[in-house]
Symmetry: C2
Subunit: 430 residues, 2 copies
């Protein structure tokens, strides 16, 4: 048997434990596929005593994770600690500096430091792998870097956060409001005690910024992602969207435009006929549109120990087989700065929900404001009549520019007949 | 600029012309991603004079395609001629024998000779690539060979033939029968003049046998695929399936069982809730279930020049980057013979459609036959009453063994009250 690939794992949470278990359960299969065994030689985790359901006999325990960068006899360091700074970053930098390949599931680290880490890795003649950082078990990083490498990618978008997708799916199924469903999701363990990272769109934006670099050959540019979360989506919005033939999804979308690379994360109305409209519960899906391949869809579990371990070990298999591709598909020193795209320049259709006092002339005022911004309406939905009382009015616009829409909504919000601030959700046509 | 990867293309039909075009249109991008240019140096095709919409100035024309195997200055041979035997096979064998890597889109060749070609390639220290042979532009070969390599694959299935999917989708949308829709598909160019290769399931079986080898580490075993096409699916079947909450799809399914690897191609009833139920028109989709990753879905255009060229050039990019993985994910000399699985041992639920004379006692006879085979019924649908006249009766069974079902259908077919042979479609629960 040829020489084993000896690995060290830093972080033995859900993903770390599942990775250790996978390496044991599928050891023979992996040896067959790699032509050599992959062996866990060293670990680092906070609590040695905890039962993780996996046998770690014979594995070195190292208290200071950063030491794994230079621990003797290790070929690859797997970083599963998490976080954009601190120990995780120190370990990755130290390992790459020592010329050791790194496998990581750390999207925050890559979103904030991806370009510099790629340059460090390639400068040191080693490699940085992160299939597990985006969309769990879906091999989307490999698909963009290799499988679709013949294409100029025109657009990439996806459901990248299972928590948000679970909440929106459950809101639709039950008709309940965001806060009630969030509470339940927290009780079930589908959402964190502090849910802001997920529901405010940050996690989706981390992943999107990585996909953008892979797809467009640009530096990772998290700072220029326009981010809105799902807290303001109401049960009414989801119901009205349904009536108009749409589903509400939190999407990350990146698109090359004449003015630069547009990166945005926000709730979207997507047509019921689009595959992305049907991504269930805790699943993730990514759609990549290439100039020759057309539209391709990749769907699977976006989180959890098993799926994420599958991605971590896929990277280890690549390393064991001697595959090496530039970190972000092209050499790191050839990545170009993206020209950030301001959301004001976005063009698209919009869903608008107004809560108005049902008096004559309301719609005349509203439509006059839209007319002044050259925004034309596609459809209008008014539910019930209750003279003098609040009624919801739902509007669907044709494509227009975001800046004009923002001005229109500001002016509409000032109308005396508006009982609540207007709500807006962008419509995506796929 | 480092040394170019010089390629020769045999066959300039739709896919060959699109490949030449892609290499030209995306030349700079490919050079950036590969670190070296990919250059078309030689071609072979029947008709030099034909306008293929692509500039071939400066490219060598070689009349005898097999000569490309030894044409000077060529690094990779791309075989786009097609067919399991003849020139295509001769060229691939000659190229591999000469130590030249081969890229092919030829599923028939791989289905019939995949194992021996893989052994030849690996024995000569070269490589055989075939992303384009299965599911067009969807990078499913790479996904199975690399992206999901950490998993023991439990089952893989897919919509692998766009012609059949187009016909079944159109039958559902229009309520028209198979032969009418086939004729229209032929007129539109979606089906060949001789459609048997597609509609009888052979093309799907070719692709399935390749996926099976990749997923399960078995020799390519086309001969043991159980194959049924879609000719016998009626508009009624599709309508009744709809009423029961199913869609009718032609699937290729491979599954590891205790008794061996089951490979089958036949029309299936799939639950409306399954992603595979919604694969539109000419698209393909593949679902792979792994022990750690769970269920992953890959969808995209399954045929056509652009998507297939995308897959061909993805293989060229791998070669240009120096990536090499065993042909079928494990070394060819480690592939094991699959234990063929006879369809008689298949277990599953069934949709049955009977056309009976509406007289008392019919259903007593039918249900007694099912009882004798220990087959229990899940639901029954009878449309209308017309005493003494033909009425359709639709039955959905619980899981049972195919052998018992075959005996039951034979006995039911002999009943005097049966006006047509019973129709059966297997139900797949995902």
């Amino acid at each position: 048997m040829p020489q084993a690939l000896n690995i060290a794992v830093a972080g033995l949470g859900t993903v770390g434990a599942a990775t250790a278990q996978l390496l044991r359960v599928n050891a023979d299969l992996l040896a067959l596929r790699c032509g050599r065994p992959i062996v866990l030689r060293a670990v680092s985790a906070r609590d040695r005593g905890r039962d993780r359901g996996v046998d770690l006999a014979g594995v070195d325990w190292v208290d200071d994770a950063v030491r794994l960068a230079t621990h003797p006899g290790i070929d690859v360091v797997v970083e599963l600690i998490g976080g954009a700074e601190g120990v995780a970053r120190d370990l990755v930098v130290a390992s790459l500096t020592a010329g050791r390949p790194v496998v990581t599931a750390n999207k925050a680290l890559l979103a904030h430091h991806g370009t510099e880490l790629a340059r460090l890795a390639e400068g040191k003649g080693t490699s940085l792998h992160f299939e597990a950082a985006v969309a769990g078990g879906i091999p989307i990083v490999k698909a963009l870097r290799e499988g679709l490498a013949a294409n100029a990618i025109e657009r990439i978008y996806g459901v990248l956060n299972g928590t948000c997708n679970y909440i929106l799916t459950t809101m639709r199924a039950t008709g309940r409001d965001f806060s009630a469903v969030l509470k339940e999701a927290q009780k079930l363990g589908y959402a964190e005690a502090d849910p802001s990272f997920d529901v405010d769109g940050v996690d989706t934006a981390h992943k999107l910024s990585i996909l953008t670099a892979l797809a467009f050959g640009t530096e990772v540019d998290f700072a220029s992602v326009h981010i809105e979360g799902i807290r303001r989506v109401t049960a009414d919005d989801i119901r009205f969207a349904d009536e108009l033939g749409y589903r509400v999804k939190l999407l990350g979308i990146a698109r090359r435009t004449a003015d630069g690379v547009e990166q945005r994360v926000h709730p979207c109305l997507v047509p019921d006929s689009a595959p992305i409209a049907h991504v269930p519960g805790a699943f993730n899906a990514v759609v990549a549109d290439g100039d020759f391949v057309g539209s391709t869809v990749f769907e699977g579990r976006g989180a959890g120990g098993g799926p994420t371990a599958s991605a971590v070990v896929a990277d280890l298999v690549d390393i064991a087989r001697g595959l090496r591709v530039p970190t972000f598909a092209i050499a790191a020193d050839r990545l170009t700065p993206p020209h950030p795209f301001a959301i004001q320049h976005h063009r698209g259709a919009y869903y608008i929900c107004l809560t108005v006092r049902d008096v004559p002339g309301v719609m005349a005022d509203v439509t006059a404001i839209f007319r002044d911004e050259q925004i034309s309406l596609d459809s209008m939905l008014q539910r019930g009549r209750a003279p003098g009382e609040p009624v919801p009015v739902v509007l669907e616009t044709h494509e227009c520019e975001e800046a004009g829409m923002a001005r229109a909504l500001k002016n509409i919000g000032r109308l005396e007949t508006m009982l609540r601030p207007p709500r807006m959700i962008r419509i995506e046509a796929f």
